[in-house]
Assembly symmetry: C2
Homo-oligomer: 205 residues x 2
C-alpha cells in the first residue's frame, strides 16, 4: 500500500511500511502506476492529482463536522489515530490539537522551528542564536539563546504540559523537540495510522 501526506513544501510517503520524504518539486506523481491514498494541504497539487484515477484523496471519506471548516486535513487525519491526548505536529508549522476521550477540544498553531529561527534573525542580527532544546523551564532566562527559546518553545511546552494528557510528538522535528517534552511519545507514523484507519473504515482495501 502507498500512502502520501502532501504538505506545502514536501511529501511524506509510506510505501510498504517504508517512510521517505521528497520535496514538492522532486515529487514524481504522474509516474505512479499503483493506487496511492493521499491527503493534501497543497491545493495546487490536489487539483492536479484529482485528474488521476489511481490517486485516491482520503479527505472525501472524513466526517469534517466534528472539526472547523478551515482546519488542515493533516491535523484532522492525525486526530483519527488517538482517543485521548495532545498531538504536537512539528513541521513547517507546529500544530497542537487536543482530543478528550474521542472529542476534539480545539487546537492552535505556532510557527515551525525553521520559520521561527529565520524570523528572529530577520528581526535583528542580535537575535541570531540557535534554540536550546535542553532549556530549563522552571526559571526565567538570563541569556540570549534561552530568552529566544523560552519566548517560542518555552511558552509552547508549558502550555501543553498544563493539559495533563498524553503527548504525542510527530512531524519532521518531533525528535528534535522531544528533550523539551517530559514523557512525550514520538510517533513519526501517526498521520499514516490515521490514514489507515480511514481506509479500513471506508472499506477501500
Amino acid at each position: 500500500m502507498t500512502l502520501c501526506d502532501i504538505g506545502n513544501s514536501s511529501v511524506d510517503i509510506l510505501e510498504d511500511e517504508k517512510l521517505s520524504k521528497v520535496t514538492i518539486s522532486d515529487f514524481d506523481f504522474a509516474n505512479q502506476s499503483k493506487t496511492v491514498y493521499y491527503i493534501s494541504v497543497n491545493s495546487a497539487l490536489s487539483e492536479k492529482l484529482s485528474t488521476l484515477n489511481n490517486w485516491i484523496n482520503l479527505e472525501q471519506y472524513i466526517d469534517r463536522t466534528c472539526y472547523y471548516e478551515s482546519m488542515g486535513i493533516d491535523r484532522i487525519v492525525a486526530l483519527q489515530s488517538i482517543n485521548d491526548g495532545v498531538i504536537v505536529d512539528a513541521g513547517s508549522a507546529i500544530t497542537v490539537d487536543i482530543v478528550d476521550y474521542g472529542n476534539f477540544e480545539g487546537g492552535f498553531i505556532s510557527a515551525g522551528l525553521k520559520a521561527m529561527r529565520e524570523t528572529y534573525v530577520n528581526i535583528s542580527p542580535n537575535l541570531d542564536y540557535s534554540f536550546n532544546f535542553e532549556l530549563a523551564l522552571d526559571k526565567m532566562p538570563k541569556n540570549s539563546p534561552d530568552a529566544l527559546t523560552y519566548g517560542f518553545l518555552g511558552l509552547l511546552v508549558k502550555e501543553i504540559a498544563r493539559y495533563e494528557k498524553p503527548i504525542i510528538l510527530t512531524g519532521g522535528d518531533a525528535l528534535v523537540l522531544q528533550p523539551l517534552f517530559k514523557n512525550a511519545l514520538v510517533d513519526e507514523l501517526l498521520i499514516f495510522k490515521g490514514m489507515k484507519q480511514i481506509i479500513t473504515k471506508a472499506k477501500l482495501c
Copy 2:
C-alpha cells in the same frame, strides 16, 4: 532635552516632551546641533554617532552587572523605570522582562506582531489571517484566526498573567495588544523615563 531610542528599523525621539518616530533611513542625525542623549541597539549607527560630540550614549552610565551580557540596552533602560512588575515591550520583537522588587528576574523574547504575521503567511497561504485581539483565552480555539492568535499571543498572555505582577505595555504595538492583557497599563514613554533616571543619577544635566 532630546532623547533618542534607536532601534533596528526606526528611532523614537522625545524632544521637549513631544514623541515622534522616524525610520532609520530618514533619521538625520548629523544635522542635530543640540545635545542628544541616546541608547541604541543598532551597532552600525552607534558607531557613527560615537564620532559626534553632541550625541551622548547613555549606555556608558549603566551598571550592566545586574543583567546578562547580550541583553539589549533598550530592555535594560526600560527596567530602570520600575521597581516591581513585568515590562512587555512590543516592537519588532516582543521582549518580556520581570522585576521583583528591584531585582531583575530574567526575561524572554518573542517575535513582534508584524514579523509573526509574515511568518505564518510565509509558512502557508492557508495561514493568512489577521490576529484576533479579542481572543478568549479560557477555551481552545476552533477556527483558524483564533488558532494562530492563540499559538502566538495566547501563549504569551497566559504566561505573563501567571506572574501575578503589574503589567506595563510599551513599544509601538502596546495599544494594539492592550485588549488581550487584563489591567495592563500602557506607557509609551517608559523607556524615556528610564533614560531620564539615568541622566539624573549620572548628573548629566
